[in-house]
Symmetry: C2
């Protein structure tokens, strides 16, 4: 609690101080300081909040400079790490050509490997910063919130069936396929891994089945591949969490159950629905309350963004508390509240919310990939060629088979089917990343093969991020995947889309078929009649056409403004002349006189 | 580190769970949980990160719901507290009439008193959340950053002399005056406080000399009192920190020095300059580097705000590390970088930076006043009528005398002197607040009269905030303090101001007098020739006229936009008609047929 007056009190010259700070930084952040001598170096009186000065009571003069590093250590080091990765990000993007061909995640991992190497040389312990709790409670939420908040709503709901199909079935397929195959491999005596049980293999398979295609999505966006592909990839990422959580929990607890009863199977299936739907329920609840809260914030515009972040985070935390799917909770919360919140809050708050969500998402992701590099070097590894190579092989094979099979089934009911090129992109885009990494570190410490699993997980992450991540852009360009021309929003397009949707809804109604458009129409009516009246402050029925018009108008204003600032010479030539008259002629007359 | 599997495993019905969470919340946040039974209640498998299930090994079915509260406790409770005070803030502002007459700080303290009362009834311990470290490292920086970032630059530099005069001399005057008077009072035997030494009295006087006029500044702004008064108040708040830190450190360390040597006096004076100028130096350094960094962020717009926040915070932390004036560091950093940063970053980033700074400042302040109320109830008090009443009296008397005396001296050199009404407002506006509160809790625990000092500090804060805070608005309106008509920025005003400044600079040069305008002109030249070239990305010399033009243009665009959204009916009447045709006529035809 109270900083104790420490034995290490000595005069230290200023250059040494910087070294001491850097040394402590490298030696380990967070709570690991207790084993080291406390870093409070006093060349002066105690720091700002008066800690007791040295108790010896001998005469000292008023000291001039005090240094109390442990007091500021935690925020200081977090800030430094964040600045460090920000620098890395800025540096990569100065040479924009690099990031076009090598994904940022690869570059960040590389930097992490270098920093990890330095830490390893200086001191054997890794920075204590990245525990699995830090990851799940602080670093993952911003990333998922970003994905959820900026999910393209319309294509998402148009493809909701496909998304869920790939997310749920894909995860199950991969886990079971990889788990069983690896268990089969474990029976080969030459590999020396017969001690790994079926459950442990399945647990490992669960970990490495979680895809993290952020790098791939960036590529998809850059090349503007067709929307269906993009949404299928993003949806799999966001909605496979429920499956992963349930499988992980079952397998981690099944370890201690000698006999599996049939009831356990049903409990498992029920668990899946509870975890998934429970997460969604929390998301709905908090999203609804968040939207409702912003109805009343028009007098306190400055805290509007905070309210949004707090509710989203609360949805995530409460879902975590009940071991529900926290990712689904925060995504649902974001989707639920976005529409209403953005109409309630001011233009400035809206910009701040969007920008801040992007900011935190971006920095969390950057930190994770950086730490992934660091931890790769500083963790103790247990390397087994056979197991790791087979893991890589099976992960790829089962994903490809899975996508092929699932696409055949889902194509039956799709208007625009996934062609072979799409299927290839989906299969090849299955990078593993942050979630697998964090799950690996949450493995129980009493697991015999924990070390091996962590090594194998890091191997598959590095392999997919580097090899697949770098090669996917040229491959997609080469096989020429279907693209969509990014059509700009215009009032005309909006009106015609709406007309068509109404027409189709009418036709569906006539045919007696309750399809997508029917439900969409029902929801819009319900929305206008009840939800908008409850959740929106000025609930005058503003049509989406008007809001689009507003959006275009703002965009236009911003563009004009940027043009003005970019091309000052045109507008400012007259002003410039006057400025010259004022600042040069009038004042400079005096100068020759003085010289 | 690792959540241990706990003995408390039982089935708990859902309603009870909410109660348990609420109970834990009330019983104490933060790290105080260890003395209680761990709150992990399992009705299901272990939570997301696989903790070991119960070690007993007896047969259990797959559990369905798990609750692991301690894991999410810290972020969960921080989020809840923040939401709670946000609600309070929203509630006050729904009835805007309340906050006009009663400052928000009063209302928040009242709410805090109520919550504190509830906590006191349920459980005797206060929430552990607000230690002095939490205050100085996490809650104060956002508040000061807000004040520093939005400081009105031009009036500030025009009144820099006055500001420093009031800040430095005022703090010294109050501390010495109050300290000596209280020491004199302590000699009265009837009060029973003869054990309080001179040094302890001076230490206490230092604590309660720190003014916190945020509530007053809001009133000043609302009533648009003259700029000089506003700046003098704000400047005293921001720049008295150096004096407070030095005095506090000297007095806290002097306690252990039996003999004061003359050299200690000089060291004290030197300490003041080191602490003040050192803080400013760190601020300059980080502000400069921050501005330089944003030169290169045009490819990574999303992290621009983060870079700004990190640098400001780093300036604060490094100043804290070396026991310099951290407040001066962060204020200087903000002033230094603001101009350059806002030209480098995108329009969206700029909005986000401003909005986020306001947001964090606002929420920190809200939290502090709320906790002040809570702590007032939950702290153990040592009440001494005499000491506390005399403290209130002396604080008011010495401040009034100080302002009167300092104003007479400073008025000699001022073009626009402080009249008597201004002086009264300055003296009456000296509310005590957050800084005094936190400093009181940093008092060494071995101080015999710590309890009494804390009680007296809380008393003076509550007295000034409630009595003076509520009465200052009617008083200022009654005595009719000089006001400035808020003149809108126009190109014409800007040009004429500039013309006048150039003229005066020329005249000053002719007279051989190096006044304010001379130095201003020198700085602008230096800025255009060197600083802008180093710090700004597109360093085309953009005159302030052009940037004003841009600002006005943007403001205009925003206004037009708000008008459009506010008055939809005008623009949208045609669209509305089409919408009606689409949604009602076409679709509703079908409905009568089905009914």
């Amino acid at each position: 609690e109270k900083a104790t007056s420490d034995p290490l009190k000595q005069d230290v010259p200023p250059p040494l101080l910087l070294f001491i700070i850097f040394y402590y930084l490298l030696c380990g952040c967070g709570g690991e300081m207790s084993s080291k001598p406390p870093g409070s170096v006093t060349i002066g009186p105690p720091a700002h909040p008066g800690e007791g000065p040295n108790p010896g009571g001998e005469k000292t003069n008023l000291p001039l400079v005090t240094i109390n590093y442990p007091r500021i250590q935690i925020p200081f080091e977090i800030t430094l790490w964040m600045l460090l990765v920000s620098f890395a990000k800025i540096a990569f993007n100065i040479y924009h050509k690099v990031t076009v061909w090598v994904p940022e995640s690869c570059l960040l991992i590389s930097i992490g490997l270098i920093v990890g190497g330095i830490i390893y040389c200086v001191h054997q312990e890794p920075p204590a910063a990245l525990t699995s709790d830090v990851f799940f409670l602080y670093m993952l939420p911003p990333i998922v919130l970003e994905s959820g908040y900026f999910i393209p709503i319309r294509p998402f709901f148009e493809n909701i069936g496909t998304v869920l199909w790939f997310a749920v079935l894909g995860s199950l397929w991969n886990t079971i396929g990889i788990g069983l195959s690896l268990f089969a491999i474990c029976q080969i005596e030459a590999l020396g891994i017969q001690h790994i049980s079926l459950q442990e293999n399945l647990l490992f398979a669960t970990i490495i089945s979680a895809v993290d295609p952020v790098a791939v999505l960036t590529v998809f966006e850059d090349l503007s591949v067709n929307e269906q592909l993009y949404i299928a990839m993003l949806g799999e990422y966001l909605f496979s969490d429920a499956v992963t959580v349930v499988l992980y929990n079952i397998l981690a607890s099944v370890k201690n159950m000698p006999v599996l009863e049939p009831v356990d199977f049903f409990l498992g299936v029920a668990g899946f629905f509870i975890v998934g739907l429970g997460g969604m329920a929390f998301g709905f609840l908090f999203g609804f309350v968040a939207a409702f809260t912003t109805r009343f914030t028009h007098q306190v515009r400055e805290i509007e963004p905070l309210v949004i972040f707090m509710y989203s985070y609360l949805a995530y935390l409460v879902a975590e508390l009940f071991a529900m799917s926290s990712i689904m909770a925060i995504v649902t919360c974001a989707i639920t509240m976005k529409y209403y919140v953005e109409e309630n809050v001011s233009q400035h708050s809206c910009t701040t919310i969007r920008h801040t969500i992007k900011m935190f998402g971006s920095i969390s992701e950057t930190l994770i990939f950086f730490f992934l590099g660091v931890v790769t070097v500083t963790t103790k590894h247990e390397w087994n060629w056979g197991y790791i190579l087979f893991t890589l092989l099976f992960a790829f094979v089962w994903r490809s088979l899975g996508v092929l099979f699932q696409a055949q089934v889902i194509n039956i009911s799709r208007t625009v089917p996934f062609n072979f090129k799409d299927q290839f992109s989906l299969a090849y885009g299955g990078l593993r990343g942050a979630v697998s990494f964090a799950l690996a570190f949450t493995l129980p410490h009493d697991l015999a093969c924990r070390q091996l699993f962590i090594t194998a997980t890091l191997a598959i992450i590095l392999f997919t991020v580097f090899i697949q991540g770098i090669s996917i852009r040229p491959l997609i360009e080469f096989i020429n995947v279907r693209r969509t021309s990014p059509n700009p929003d215009t009032i005309s397009v909006e009106i015609h889309c709406r007309l068509m949707e109404h027409t189709v809804a009418g036709i569906e109604d006539l045919c007696g078929q309750w399809g997508h458009f029917y439900w969409r129409d029902k929801f819009l009516k319900f929305n206008n009649r009840f939800l908008r009246k409850i959740l929106i402050q000025d609930s005058q029925a503003e049509s989406s056409i008007v809001s689009l018009y507003k959006k275009l108008e703002l965009q236009n204003a911003m563009e004009i403004l940027d043009m003005v600032s970019g091309d000052v010479s045109l507008l400012a030539s007259d002003l410039k002349k006057m400025h010259d008259i004022l600042s040069k002629n009038m004042y400079k007359i005096r100068q020759p006189v003085r010289c």
